[in-house]
């Protein structure tokens, strides 16, 4: 049962990823990405990480992706021509990606992972919360600082340019 679910979700993810890779229109690519992200959220559920799945959906899909689409909207020009890479670049990219994929697959395939079935805990969120507030307290606080800095920086960076009077 799990396996079938896994493959279904994996197909969704890969389809979305391929769609992103080969997409030409940016908005279509965004929708493909949405599909991929949804599939990944489902896989999180499969991995008994419900909170992460929920966080993924809320932050990633609801936040980041919307942000991306907003960005697309704000930086769109009238009569946008499709930006295409040159053939040489495409080949180089493909080679690089394939090389990396090969290496990774070889690495994964040649490693024997211990097969440990861990019983599903009843409450998956509590240990997470506990870890956040105990072991990972410092990164937790730091993350909040980071978000503050990001807000300020983004606000400043995206300021409108003042045209100098001629």
């Amino acid at each position: 049962m799990d396996v079938a679910l896994f493959y279904a979700l994996a197909a969704l993810v890969v389809a979305g990823a391929i769609g992103v890779v080969t997409g030409r229109h940016i908005v279509r690519m965004a929708i493909q990405l949405l599909a991929a992200l949804l599939g990944v959220a489902g896989l999180y559920v499969l991995l008994a990480a419900e909170f992460i799945a929920a966080a993924q959906l809320v932050i990633y899909v609801g936040g980041t992706l919307v942000l991306i689409i907003f960005g697309v909207m704000l930086t769109a020009r009238s009569g946008t021509s499709v930006l295409r890479p040159s053939r040489a670049e495409a080949i180089v990219a493909a080679v690089a990606g394939l090389a990396l994929l090969t290496v990774l697959c070889v690495a994964i395939g040649s490693t024997s992972f211990p097969h440990v079935i861990v019983p599903r805990p009843a409450d998956a969120v509590a240990p997470l919360g506990g870890a956040l507030l105990n072991q990972y307290l410092f990164p937790f606080e730091l993350a909040s600082l980071l978000l503050l800095a990001v807000m300020l920086g983004a606000a400043y960076l995206a300021r409108p340019l003042q045209r100098r009077p001629r």
Binding site: A10, V13, A49, L128, Q135, R159
Partner: protein, 102 residues
């Protein structure tokens, strides 16, 4: 066949490779950002998978949570930069931003 770790790992590898290729191949800045998101998701998948198949402490999940947070922040900053870029160059083509050449 039971669901094993390697399933997730292979999927993560494919996802990562797709992300790399997207970054390499796209001229649209936001397309590159999408590629980066794909790579981050691949890493997250790996982390959660390992967390599930190894021990009880939720290290992997915590790490994945932080990654999500930071990815969101990074996306915000990146978009801000793209907007600035767009204001300056009137274009979203990253090939236009080649002034830092040697």
């Amino acid at each position: 066949m039971t669901l094993g770790l390697h399933h997730f790992l292979f999927l993560g590898a494919i996802l990562f490779a797709c992300g790399i290729v997207t970054v390499l191949i796209k001229r649209h800045a936001i397309g590159i950002l999408m590629g980066v998101e794909l790579m981050l998701n691949a890493a997250n998948l790996n982390l959660v998978a390992f967390d599930h198949y190894t021990g009880t402490a939720p290290h992997g999940q915590t790490f994945a949570l932080f990654v999500i947070v930071i990815a969101a922040a990074e996306a915000a900053v990146a978009l801000a930069i793209f907007m600035n870029f767009h204001n300056n160059f009137a274009s979203i083509d990253v090939d236009r931003g080649s002034e830092l050449r040697g």
